[in-house]
């Protein structure tokens, strides 16, 4: 059984307007998304800005209300579980935020930040708590003495590690990482990515990894879902997506990634042109009248593509 | 004490010098004349500016029959007047616009309006106008404050007022210029201000609904009268300009016109110094010492028909029966306590210190502004703390627990609640001074300063007396009629002391009786009454007041006070422009 299964998830935000600020319309931020993640795997969510990646992640962890659909965590539907159970489940899902600067309260010491989840869920004595925090700090590769410092005394990469320490404090099973490195300098990115992979192995974590950088997704993920306007266009293993993209949108996305080999640039440029031409030509076939992708069709056991009914 | 009459005679030599004489900063009303010393020759025409000192604007109800605010009355004075005039003792004379005759039974008055008395629009002032004024005031829709016992004393007025009669039986128009009014009760008060002598122009207001008159443009924007000046224009709340009434019955005024402008008490001095105004009605006495030597004006002075007093709450008001309900157990019920409290305060010092002598120790409840009736032999109760303490000791008010304050005869702590009104700089320290004085004789008094409305609410203006109030300080302006029953009678709501006394009732009654047409009889009655009040002390007067009225040196033929024989139509100026201060 998958650790988490998302079925036809929809998150709509009301748009208010008119004389009385009534609900006029909805932003379909997430509009029918389904995927599942196996224990210990990393699942990548890619898509351009505004495609609903963050909203999906937040809906799972409960930061956004789910309009409809199911989120099954270890078989339990998060929308219907009892409050008590929910608190339990919540411990198992944690989040790493994009911005290491704003995700740590600047007025709190690292010790307090990392201990926050412990204080909420586990009754520990002050000493036990400190021990645990130091342990966690060590785990994320920071000096245990650093717990009395404030976040601003750390570099971006180190802060991201503090965020991770906080996220893993309760031994969660699933970690949702929303663009965990996009705010970091190139040289620091690697630090965090390496580290995330390390603790994944160590703690048998499952990641929902959200990013728009396909290079990083490729590096990190086993499975990938490509989002477009709140829907899926393609879902499959990293291999399948990168070597055998089926949807023109996926193709175009991949073609748009700059090639790091300068010698390929002309070829790459031509390829991009070709893909663009194909995209323009086939747009009608891959998107419905509203310009939204169709629902997913399986083309192999692991690989689904959004195609029109006719195929 | 003295009266305005004396001053009129010997004012000449004093008025100009008072500044120099009073180096010690102490003044006295005797130093002031109420008639302006004329300097220079009158020029033809000219206009003057009259400053209406008021911190609230004039309301603009410019008709004697409807006005309620004092500022309005000051404006009215310039363009309208009563048909009857009175002498310095406030007794009606026969040299006004109308003359009067009294019938044998002293109940019917026959008035004759002068032939040359015409409204500003040229229409004659008629007996019908006079009758009309009574009809309007007596009408049930009348919205002014004039309807009172003076009117109900007219035969048939109450029937008319209640709608039972269509006319007032006691008022008869004999001919165009002759009116006859019959009163129910004959009283000397009739001769001192109790006759309503202000006609209402029927040709203008006759067709209006009574309720609409007071807000009509004929009252507010183009008011009419038959006085020496005519209203030319009005800036509501700010100023009025008047031009002379060529047709004035005493003869055309000498001045071409008058401008009345409202000035606040804070700008009075400045306006006077710069000649912005030529004369004002009431100069704030607290500003006098600093400006006594203003070179371009002469200060006229007269005794104000008013006194300040301290009252003791001795009961409550019975709103059902409309009489006072004395409370024999009132905290202030002990007459010796009240006497002691009078003795404890040094009003001479207060007058000298706070008012530089322009207010002075009051002795009786009839102020010297009524020289015929004020008993200047009666000393009241002089400042004498020793006497006060003795009185208190004797009455059993002694300090039993050594806290410095006296307890009541039962030995219970005595805390007297004293309220006074805010307003003016000195109000608070003055009240505070009284508290201190009482403390000196061992009385514990708590002071609360209240704003006007709250003050009267608590004193019992609405008929509900605040039981928390024991002593209060207030002031009365008194009418030209000396009769004090409206303030101290058992049926008077304004008897805030809620005091009732048989002798008092008797004396008040005697003062209004037909016998009192005899002056000495009436003087004796009021002398006795003044003494009664000094003995009983339901209230005690604290200060009498001077009314100061600076007048620019260029102004000629001006006087304040009554019975001077100088009229506004005589007013003239010696220079085109007001003289400014050096």
């Amino acid at each position: 059984m998958s650790l988490i299964e998302v079925e036809n998830l929809k998150v709509h935000f009301p748009v208010r307007g008119g004389v009385f600020q009534t609900v006029q319309d909805h932003v379909r931020a997430v509009d029918g998304v389904s995927f599942s993640i196996e224990q210990g795997q990393t699942y990548g969510l890619v898509g351009e800005s505004g495609s609903g990646k963050t909203t999906t992640g937040r809906a799972i962890i409960g930061l956004n209300d789910i309009t409809s659909g199911k989120v099954l965590f270890e078989g339990r539907d998060l929308a219907t579980v009892s409050k008590k159970e929910y608190i339990d489940v919540r411990k198992d899902i944690q989040m790493i935020f994009q911005d290491p600067f704003s995700s740590l309260n600047p007025k709190k010491r690292v010790a307090d930040i990392v201990a926050e989840p412990l204080r909420n869920y586990e009754k520990l004595s002050a000493k036990e708590e400190r021990m645990r925090v130091q342990e966690l700090m060590e785990l994320v590769g920071l000096s245990p003495e650093a717990i009395y410092k404030y976040p601003h005394e750390f570099s971006g990469g180190q802060r991201q590690r503090i965020g991770i320490a906080r996220a893993i404090a309760l031994n969660p099973k699933l970690i949702i990482a929303d663009e965990p490195v996009s705010a970091l300098d190139v040289s620091v990115q690697a630090q965090v990515l390496n580290f995330m992979r390390e603790i994944q192995k160590e703690l048998n974590l499952t990641y929902l990894f959200i990013s728009h950088d396909l290079g990083i997704i490729r590096h990190m993920c086993d499975h990938i879902g490509i989002m477009y306007k709140g829907r899926y266009v393609e879902n499959g293993t990293a291999e399948e997506i990168f070597t055998n993209p089926q949807h023109i949108y996926t193709k175009r996305l991949i073609a748009a990634i700059p090639d790091s080999n300068p010698r390929n640039r002309d070829m790459h440029y031509e390829n991009r042109k070709l893909v663009k031409a194909e995209y323009d030509r086939l747009e009608k076939d891959f998107f419905d009248e509203e310009g939204l992708p169709y629902s997913l069709k399986s083309i192999s056991a692991t690989h689904q593509v959004a195609l029109a009914e006719r195929g | 004490a003295c009266n305005g009459d004396d001053k009129a005679k010997d004012g000449d030599d004093k008025g100009a010098e008072d500044g120099d004489k009073k180096k010690d900063g102490m003044y006295s009303i005797e130093d002031f004349s109420n008639v302006k010393t004329n300097e220079g020759e009158a020029i033809d025409g000219g206009t003057i500016t009259f400053g209406l000192v008021s911190d609230t604007v004039f309301e603009g109800t410019l008709n004697w029959n409807f006005y309620s605010g004092a500022p309005d009355a000051e404006i009215l004075n310039w363009f309208d007047e009563g048909l009857l005039t009175w002498d310095e003792n406030y007794v009606y004379t026969n040299d006004g616009a109308a003359t009067y005759e009294i019938s044998e039974d002293e109940r019917t008055f026959t008035f004759k309006i002068g032939d040359n008395v015409n409204w500003h629009d040229g229409e004659p002032v008629t007996a019908e106008d006079w009758q009309f004024a009574h009809e309007v005031i007596g009408n049930k829709d009348y919205d002014g404050p004039r309807y009172n016992s003076d009117f109900t004393n007219i035969e048939g007025m109450e029937e008319y007022n209640s709608g039972k009669a269509d006319t007032i039986s006691g008022i008869e128009v004999v001919d165009e210029k002759t009116l006859k009014i019959t009163y129910i009760e004959s009283t000397p008060s009739l001769l001192t201000g109790s006759i309503w002598s202000y006609p209402l122009a029927k040709h203008i207001f006759g067709d209006m609904a009574v309720a609409d008159i007071s807000s009509s443009p004929e009252v507010r924007q183009n008011p009419i009268g038959f006085g020496p000046f005519k209203v030319d224009s009005i800036v509501p709340g700010e100023s009025v300009t008047l031009t002379k009434n060529e047709d004035y019955w005493r003869g055309a005024p000498k001045l071409d016109g008058v401008t009345i402008k409202v000035i606040s008490s804070s700008t009075v001095v400045q306006e006077l110094e710069t000649g912005g105004v030529d004369l004002i009605s009431d100069f704030p006495v607290d500003q006098f010492p600093d400006n006594a030597e203003m070179s371009n004006v002469e200060y006229l002075g007269t005794i104000d028909r008013a006194y300040t007093y301290i009252g003791f709450k001795l009961g409550t008001w019975d709103a059902e029966k409309n009489v006072v309900a004395p409370n024999p157990d009132a905290k202030m019920g002990d007459v010796e306590l009240r006497q002691a409290m009078w003795h404890a305060v040094d009003n001479t010092a207060v007058g000298e210190r706070f008012y530089n002598g322009l207010r002075w120790n009051a002795t009786t409840l009839i102020p010297p502004s009524h020289p015929e009736f004020h008993d200047d032999k009666n000393e009241g109760r002089a400042y004498d703390p020793e006497a006060a303490m003795k009185l208190l000791d004797d009455a059993g008010y002694v300090d039993t627990d050594d806290d410095g304050f006296r307890e009541d005869p039962e030995g219970k702590p005595l805390e007297i609640n004293f309220i006074s009104m805010t307003g003016g700089d000195t109000a608070e320290p003055l009240a505070q001074y009284y508290v201190q004085s009482w403390e000196k004789v061992g009385l514990k008094v708590n002071l609360e300063m209240l704003e006007f409305n709250t003050f009267y609410d608590r004193v019992g203006n609405g008929g509900e007396d605040d039981p928390e109030v024991d002593v209060y300080q207030a002031a009365w302006g008194v009418g030209i009629d000396v009769d004090p029953s409206g303030l101290y009678g058992a049926e008077a709501l304004y008897n805030f002391a809620r005091w009732e006394n048989e002798d008092n009732e008797r004396l008040l009654k005697e003062g209004r009786s037909p016998e009192a047409f005899d002056l000495t009889y009436r003087q004796d009655v009021y002398k006795e009454w003044q003494q009664l009040m000094v003995d009983e002390v339901p209230v005690f007067p604290t200060l009498y007041r001077a009314l100061l009225s600076p007048v620019n040196n260029r102004v000629l033929n001006y006087a304040i006070g009554d019975g001077t024989g100088i009229y506004l139509s005589d007013l003239a100026v010696s220079e085109e422009k007001a003289i400014t201060a050096e």
């Binding site: - | 800036v235 400045q270 409305n453 409206g486």
Partner: protein, 320 residues
Amino acid sequence: MWKLIVRRTLITIPQIIVLSLLVFILAQAMPGDALTGLIDPSIDPATIEAMRERLGLNNPWYVQYIDWIKGVLQGDFGQSFRFKMPVSELIGGRMINTLWLSLATLILTYLIAIPLGIISGRFNDTWLDRAITGYTYIGFAAPLFIFALVMLFIFGFQLGWFPTSGSVAPGTEPGTFAYFISKVNHLLLPALSMALITTVSTVQYLRSEIIDTKQKDFIVTARAKGASESRVYNRHVLRNSLLPIAAFFGYEITGLIGGTIFIENIFGYPGMGELFLSSISLRDYSVMTALVLLFGLAAIIGALLSDIILSLVDPRIRIK
């Protein structure tokens, strides 16, 4: 855009009702009433009581309120108890005075604020800026009433340059040039006194707004395009900095209301603020209530105006 106006206007209605209710209850709660001031031995207390009855002052407050609000809905604010004239008429004259005073103050405020703000913002940290900032500091700290008193003292009394009370010289004929001049002469000192104080917040605001805008990327862009410094300021910095000032305009009105009470009181200027204070002490409820309501309305309209102005000048809001 119109939706905004409609919505704001609709919201205004309950605001007005609550405001009127509040004021009315307050008025009723005040000790004394319009006739308390008539205490005078020559006036029969029974007469006063009868007048009170006739004026409905003895009715329960809600009856009085309903009577009153009925009238207001028909545009009738009732009669002034003290002035015995329709409240609307009474206020009418005062309103014009206050309107002129406010207008003059506003004009002066901006006449002072805009150049000072611009100089101070553009040349920040120069001695000129320091002088202006110093002025704003003092202006910020000086209570209006102290400043007004001092102004009155110096220019009204000592130097005698300006009249010290009233709104127009007595006897000047309305409509004439002399009348106009006299009006202007009377409101100059009060308006200037108020403007000198109220302007400082605008100066400060404009200054920091300019300093802010100066550092914006699009200013660098303008320079990169080759625009001269003066063009950068006139076309880009100023326009963008004045926007919040324009939006502030409506709120200035709210600020003026408080100011006029002091100013009119100190300068004896017969306007609504002055009338308000006297109607309070005279317990002239109908006038007082109407005045508060009008001032409230002015504030509401001011806020509305600000929103509208902002949405007119700022395309980012206009679109919505």
